[in-house]
């Protein structure tokens, strides 16, 4: 492996509060140096990063790769490749595959598929319950032994409060977070979008904000009871943000994530029955978007995660009621963050990198998220200014379901490096 010297970029490493024009040296797949005027070792590849940003590779704690089960929609390999194209060097696929990733062999399969892909690192999330049926705990110890970094029944809420309590308590032995998709199924019922004025006008069945908040409140109480670490997936309402903020003030072990789409879109995106605006949790109202942004700013929301959810185009080319929930997100996340949050003056660029790299590594106890010497050689180089237009036909993901098609975004990945190897090179603008 040739050493890699990245020269003259704006190096941003939130793990050590670093933000300066400098060089980064990678040797043997790890960070070997950070500073100005670093010399190139013999045989090193030199990357001119002047005018570019250089940061620890992005980490996405919430993706769906559909393998095994729906390889026509996404595989571990295509998902990891799409991740690399989006500047992500590590991703955590959810276990709602078919069959469910609820045992050590299934986790091992995903790890093996990821190794063959040679793109972003893949750290699987195991199921909380066998078959995600919400009845019996999966073998957390064996899941972790095979490579799982967290457990979740995502796609489904953990309906039984007893089972959630046991999961939080039992997970403490392995120091892994229990990630919950917060949704009261009786309130969500057959809802298809946020319940509010827009759903009333469109005549679409609504999902009230309370459906999420009830479960957020429950999970916070159970985390307090057990001392376990609860990680709340894709928080979408202002009420949830407030509950989490108060819980953190009390010292409850909670972390939370928000998606780029919940930070940038409202339920008005469903106008015209746009099935690419159908997600779960649903897009909410402007006041919710504002509260999520404030939560990401002040750290109440620790992490930005995509909830990358590929679907076949036939599945979205349906009546709104019948279309599946979810959108792809890996290849638009950085651009949306740069455009809406950084240029929109919600976050500084170092804060965005912190929420998309350093914080995710901390929350799931993953290597990476840092440019300190000795850290994994996982780096993203991107042009923070250049503007580009989202063209889903050019996605590396197998799926095209995005509401951001045609949107002009700032911030384009120039190069993604995993373990010292370049796994993605951006097209010249």
């Amino acid at each position: 492996m040739k050493p890699l010297l990245i020269r003259g970029g704006r190096v941003i490493d939130p793990s050590q509060g670093y933000d300066a024009v400098a060089d980064v040296l990678l040797v043997d797949g790890r960070i070997a140096g950070l500073g100005s005027g670093l010399g190139a070792p013999d045989g090193a590849e030199i990357v001119d990063a002047r005018g570019k940003a250089v940061a620890p590779g992005l980490i996405d704690l919430h993706v769906h790769f559909r393998e095994p089960g729906r390889e026509d929609v996404e595989t571990v390999a295509t998902g990891a490749r799409a991740a690399a194209a989006g500047g992500f060097t590590a991703v955590c696929p959810m276990p709602n595959t078919d069959p469910v990733t609820d045992n050590q062999a299934a986790v091992g399969f995903i790890v093996k598929q990821a190794q063959a892909a040679g793109a972003a690192r893949v750290y699987p999330i195991g199921a909380i319950s066998l078959g995600q049926k919400g009845q019996q705990l999966a073998e957390f110890g064996e899941l972790v032994g095979a490579g799982a970094v967290a457990v979740s029944d995502d796609g489904q809420p953990v309906v039984s409060s007893h089972l959630m309590r046991m999961a939080l308590a039992y997970a403490r032995a392995f120091d892994i977070p229990v990630a919950d998709h917060c949704e009261d199924p009786t309130l969500k019922a057959n809802g298809v979008m946020h319940e509010g004025l827009v759903s009333t006008r469109l005549g679409l069945r609504g999902i009230p904000a309370a459906a999420e908040q009830i479960m957020v409140a429950r999970d916070l109480l159970l985390a307090e009871l057990t001392g376990g670490h609860v990680h709340l997936c894709h928080v979408s309402t202002r009420g949830s943000v407030e509950l989490i903020r108060r819980a953190k003030e009390k010292g409850i072990r909670v972390t939370a994530e928000a998606t780029p789409h919940h930070l940038t879109l409202t339920d008005q995106a469903c106008e015209g029955y746009n099935t690419n605006a159908k997600m779960n949790p649903p897009l909410r109202e402007a006041a919710d978007v504002a509260a999520l942004r404030a939560g990401v700013k002040d750290g109440t929301i620790d992490v930005i995660a995509t909830d990358h959810a590929p679907h076949h185009y036939d599945a979205k080319e349906r009546e709104f009621d019948d279309a599946p929930f979810g959108i792809v997100g890996l290849e638009t996340a950085l651009g949306l963050g740069m455009t809406e949050l950084v240029q929109g003056r919600v976050l500084t660029l170092p804060e965005l990198i912190e929420r998309m790299s350093t914080a995710p590594a901390r929350v799931f106890h993953l290597p990476g998220g840092s440019l300190k010497p000795g850290s994994p050689g996982d780096v993203v180089i991107f042009d923070p200014e250049v503007r580009w237009r989202v063209d889903p036909t050019r996605f590396y993901s197998k799926s095209r379901n995005t509401p951001f098609a045609g949107r002009e975004l700032a911030g384009r990945v120039v190069r993604t490096v995993v373990g010292g190897l370049t796994v993605h090179r951006g097209e010249v603008a």
């Binding site: 319940e195 509010g196 004025l197 759903s199 009333t200 006008r201 469109l202 005549g203 679409l204 069945r205 609504g206 009230p208 015209g272 029955y273 036939d314 080319e317 349906r318 009546e319 709104f320 009621d321 019948d322």
Partner: protein, 324 residues
């Protein structure tokens, strides 16, 4: 082709202007007379092919459309979801493409999913008439209710109309709200709060919690059908209690400060949302609504085919005017 007064499709009353709605109502006037003739047929849509695509059971609306089409001399085909390729798993987009391939001119569709009419309209060149999509809109029902009110009061502007019952699940309510508001009526809704959608006040309507208050306020009540299955889904305790608390009864109407007009889109649950003595009584314009339904649908089909409102009178006599 002449200027279109309605655009390609009729998907709802929300996207229409007040003038467009008035055009349709005005155009319906001359078509009323066609149905009173011995020979109830004019050649206006001769040679046009219309498909009535019904994914949900319907008697009144389907028959009303079919009469409207036949009295305009269109060729019609009825497709019901049961027994069709839909039951074999065909998607709506494939159904639409296949119909289009047969070179049809218009589709009249009833579908259980909100937005289905728009979905279809965006994917085929033919005109699409929404005959009810989920809980979204039922524009021709809204129009025939407007026409009936206009017949009765001579105006819509300034009228106080209260829509009563299950607003949450009602496409009739939504079309009525848009149509009435655009034509300058005051609109209220009344029903159990469990059957009122969130944010309904923001549409510009008043909410009455008690039917007695609505009767004190209104010039006309549009009484919606209460779907019997709502009880099982937990929206209300029982039909008996609904009738006692929210039913439109003679006793309640007797306390009205002025002459009250009662509309109902049908089919009625006698003794639930409306008492028989009200339905059959002097306040009721329920059968006028049904009669007007045919005229309004003739007007919509005529206008979508490119007909001009001012020529509607002439169109009754001579063929081909709609397609010059």
């Amino acid at each position: 082709m002449t200027e279109r007064f309605l655009g390609k499709d009729l998907l709802g009353l929300e996207p229409l202007t007040a003038n467009q709605i008035r055009f349709i109502l005005d155009t319906a006037e001359p078509f009323k007379e066609v149905s009173e003739r011995t020979i109830k047929k004019v050649p206006t849509l001769r040679g046009q092919t219309i498909v009535n695509l019904f994914f949900e059971a319907s008697t009144r609306t389907r028959i009303s459309f079919e009469f409207a089409e036949k009295r305009l001399s269109a060729d019609t085909v009825n497709v019901a979801a049961a027994g069709s390729s839909v039951e074999k798993g065909e998607t709506l987009v494939d159904t639409a493409r296949n119909l289009e391939a047969m070179r049809i001119d218009m589709v009249v569709m009833r579908h259980p999913s909100s937005g289905a009419a728009q979905f279809l309209a965006e994917r085929i060149r033919s005109n699409v008439v929404n005959a009810g999509d989920g809980t979204h809109e039922h524009p021709t029902q809204g129009l025939l209710d407007l026409l009936t009110l206009r017949d009765k009061f001579g105006r819509i502007e300034g009228l106080k109309v209260c829509i009563c019952g299950d607003i949450l699940h009602s496409r009739v309510a939504r079309s009525n709200i848009w149509g009435l508001l655009k034509l300058g009526a005051e609109v209220a809704v009344c029903g159990p709060a469990s059957l009122l959608p969130l944010g309904i006040e923001d549409l510009g309507v008043t909410v009455f919690r008690r039917i007695e208050d609505a009767i004190q306020w209104a010039d006309a009540l549009n009484v919606l059908r209460l779907q019997l299955e709502r009880m099982h889904a937990g929206f209300l305790p029982s039909l008996r209690e609904y009738n006692r608390v929210f039913g439109v009864t003679v006793e309640r109407l007797e306390k009205a400060p002025r002459e009250m007009v009662i509309l109902h889109p049908g089919p009625m649950n006698r003794g639930v949302e409306i008492d028989s003595r009200v339905a059959d009584g002097p306040h009721s314009v329920i059968l006028d609504q049904v009669t007007n339904g045919v005229a309004v649908r003739m007007a919509v089909l005529y206008l979508l085919a490119g007909g001009r409102p001012e020529l509607a009178e002439a169109a009754k006599g001579s063929g081909g005017e709609a397609n010059e």
